[in-house]
Symmetry: C2
Subunit: 353 residues, 2 copies
Amino acid sequence: LIPAGTDKASKTMRIAVDAMGGDKGPPEVARGVIEAARGSQTHFLLVGDPAVLEPELARIRPGLANVELVPASQVIEMTAQPALAFKRMPDASVVVAARMVKEKKADAIVTIANTGAAMAASLLTWGRIKGIDRPAIAVPLPSLTGTVVLLDAGATVDCDPNNLFEFAIMGSVYAQNVVGVHKPRVGLISNGEEESKGNTLVKRTHALLKQPLTEDSPFEFIGNVEGRDIFRGHVDVAVCDGFVGNVVLKTGEGVAEMVLRLIKAELGRHAWMKPFVLPLMPALRRLRQRIDYAERGGAPLLGVNGICIIGHGRSDAYAVTNACRTAERAVQNNIVETSRQRVCEMPTPPPTI
Amino acid sequence: LIPAGTDKASKTMRIAVDAMGGDKGPPEVARGVIEAARGSQTHFLLVGDPAVLEPELARIRPGLANVELVPASQVIEMTAQPALAFKRMPDASVVVAARMVKEKKADAIVTIANTGAAMAASLLTWGRIKGIDRPAIAVPLPSLTGTVVLLDAGATVDCDPNNLFEFAIMGSVYAQNVVGVHKPRVGLISNGEEESKGNTLVKRTHALLKQPLTEDSPFEFIGNVEGRDIFRGHVDVAVCDGFVGNVVLKTGEGVAEMVLRLIKAELGRHAWMKPFVLPLMPALRRLRQRIDYAERGGAPLLGVNGICIIGHGRSDAYAVTNACRTAERAVQNNIVETSRQRVCEMPTPPPTI
């Protein structure tokens, strides 16, 4: 094995950012990247249409030598079929960005919004990490005490127990190296805490995860967790298949949105309330920010042989900056190499499952 | 077929309430039942330990002839294995209540908290509705515009497409006859709205549900819905397997709890806030009530050959009263017979699926 990271640490880090996505458009992405570049040693490669990006850079870049424009003439639309688009659009911004990593011109990519295109570009350009069967999207979510990493949030909808076992390893590597949890507590999402609870997939995965790990195991398996435990801060990594994870993520978004809207309705019901509510608005805005996971720095696509951080479609410049910082930490701590090693070290699951 | 309901409508309705469950204990259940009995024509049979219930009834019953105590000497604990407990405890309150329906001494049961025991007692005493393979728990949840019925919330964790198809029928019968929606919109919970999204189970179920229904179809299939659509009021019935449904329910609880706690923390951060927050407290309490589904009248166990309404463990007397009202509506509108007929009328799904 190549000793990880030693070489890269001495070189300048390079992050390729696909500038052509997001609800707010390329200029917003550019602003986020420029903010990330200020005071950073990292070299940022902004990949996209020069006609759109050049004016924005000219306007606010002066003096920033570490933001470079890389032209890409195509854009994969949100409605495109990702694998097909990947084949037909070799000059799409996300494809160009992924290729730069393959050609060792960049150390990671950051892309906003189009998860399918990001997955296709990463998987088809880099392949998977040896020993890992399926990729997973890990989303850092707010909890009562900090951050919980939920995976898979939608990369692999039909999973077997072995996939979920690998998600647990990759998720804990991420929690340890990027979120900064010393020994992550891993929970398996189920319909009850008891070991007897779960559908067939979860019961089999539980059996895999509870086998005795090595003494210096990188994580602690705390058993099944229910949907409500995810947000209570009892767990650092919550593992499930991509179907369930996506439903959890969207349900959480929906409920938070509903509660905030109902607060607004209740606190706007009578005119007399206004003078009481107004001074509290900054506190309510802080709350909204705190639970908005779009601002938490993007979600890594794990299991691919490279670093790809995917930002939420709603990302503003601030969220893009956070996604760039996440990419920096992921490169610094070499999560790809660490995941590869951890999977090698793990006891081989019984082949019959 | 026996013409449904005609006979029962002329008779006094009788509802057997298992008084021995719930976090707040039997006296709280008794108070809820007494409140339901006031001004109602229904006869309530309060099933449980006379030593516990008699004092409570003596204290507040005077004048209420329609609440009757039915002795039951055993209680199934929350930790018991339900099917085993059912066999070993023939005089458990929930078993006695279910048997009264079987013996035509009651028209429905209401029970608090122990979902497993309620399922075992209902299924093993009454059996399933002819044509329905698996039971489902339907939970009425708050949405931005009213109520959405989520099923299955945990009765059947491993489902096939045919089970979900039957859940759609039963859920729409419930939405129509108990919640009061003229023609319920049924959505299939998935990881994306497009027909191509979903795991294998959901894709196959989608194919079943989208086949042309009869002209007087009792529901409209609106396709896949994402987790966040559930709470936006776009759908009246949200269908999924019992594993996913349980995770959605608990996730929703967890997020709502987190948001409310964070509001409390933000609005209690500085002493100067207090005079502004205090007058708004009633509004914030209204909000909490509005999103607390425990108060929404209990969740029916559908697919069994009888009416069983299960209340949340946290139920207070008010929630018990609501669960009794739900049971009354379910009996009045004869949801068991209606579900049986609807399943008969549906086109038979292709046998290969």
